[in-house]
Assembly symmetry: C2
Amino acid sequence: MSSADGGGARVEIMGGFAKGLAIIELFGLERPRLTVSDAANGAGLTRAAARRCLLTLEGLGYVEFDGKYFAPRARLRRLGGVAAYATGLAERAQPLIEQLCEELNEPISVAVLDNDASLFIARAEAHRIVSTGVRLGARIPAYCSATGRVLLSGLEPMEVDQYLGRIKPVARTPKGVTDLAALKALIGQASMEGVSFSDEELELGMRSMAVPIHNVAGDIIAACSLSTSASRVTLDEMKRVYLPRLEAVASAIRG
Amino acid sequence: MSSADGGGARVEIMGGFAKGLAIIELFGLERPRLTVSDAANGAGLTRAAARRCLLTLEGLGYVEFDGKYFAPRARLRRLGGVAAYATGLAERAQPLIEQLCEELNEPISVAVLDNDASLFIARAEAHRIVSTGVRLGARIPAYCSATGRVLLSGLEPMEVDQYLGRIKPVARTPKGVTDLAALKALIGQASMEGVSFSDEELELGMRSMAVPIHNVAGDIIAACSLSTSASRVTLDEMKRVYLPRLEAVASAIRG
DNA sequence: TGACTATCGTTCGTTATCCGAACATACTGT
DNA sequence: ACAGTATGTTCGGATAACGAACGATAGTCA
């Protein structure tokens, strides 16, 4: 049952993959969690096959298991892609970040994680003769930006390890962090503190901070950042004055 | 390498399923489409294995193939689940449907598709002594509601066929439609016209219409409906007076 | 408390799914 | 025209995935 003979060639369809997708599609608002039997009945599979699918999903970090029920993790919810889970975010964020930008006179951006990079999808430009910050549509490797570290902190531990296993960090300034263990620690710190700072790592003289934007389920779907000149604003001032405002905007943007 | 020996028992992990998920995760804003070689390189698989994964996804309606590139379809974008792709929709819709409700004095609702049913996630109640419409949190089989037909029209043809293959329609009133071919035609009509009507099928005396709510990618992620009393409003009046207003609200809610 | 039912975890011999190397064909760039 | 690259196809076989069966566990009810 894994070959389809449509005319000429024999096309091998992967039966196990098809079964697994059928299991994934069972989860919904009415069925936020499944037992093995639920899954087998719902997808029309044997109990053993359904169990293997769910264990594969658990092993890869897509679902969690409490001893009886399997339930989706953030990684599963993100499987539809950023075009699905962060849809419309840029449009909703724009007026809010422009307002904050007007107030603080510093550039504010929103970024999503896309193929190991921070992709900047919204930006409000400060009215300064010389402004800092990343341009709209830019992609920056996630490891060396404040937004990137916040976005990475929303991944499952296994995803973080997979990510660190495939990057080759390069420092852009003398202050750039490239050690994998140090990067992992910074990601962990972003997770614990709900904020990340990048101090002259992208460009000398520029310092940024970023906070997460969550969806209703609590998943981190984007990051909101503020950039400023190191000569104008100290790190401490960023924390005391700017951070509460940025957090409030990120909260208002929430998906 | 599909068994993991964690202590005691041998757990069979499904290698083909794991490979398929790795392929799915490659799609992103930077990579909206993939060739077979792109996928093989990106997921660290052989070209043949990557190709079988992509052909499986195509065969099941998750991706489309133009002869060279594979690109996600709506079904793939929905794989993260309604909690991901329609996140925050209820909160964003509520003020807008309350405003329309105030204006027309008819109840307005928003529903998503969840496990073959319309799940009502937002509702604005008309200030009438006797009001019609579905209560918040209710689930109605998709085949017999205007919202359900609109939501089903957003599915891939294969998904619609799979859906029709697993339901057993029951008429709730003498006007209820239960013939599978007729239901398929109604779903097709909702797709073509961008609106669906349910005239006394749920409850005698109650008539409804629903229009789709799209995300930025154009996927139907929810439906917006208005219900009224058949004795008060004709079908023609619904079309002439109410439909444009409902479409405008649905457009404003857009994900 | 015990009988009964439902569900789950595990086993393992079997089988057919999925594998990938190799070859042919198509496409692209110079 | 030709070299290099990419893609489609084939098919024998290795092993991944299978599921029936059994024992264990959990829940229910009298």
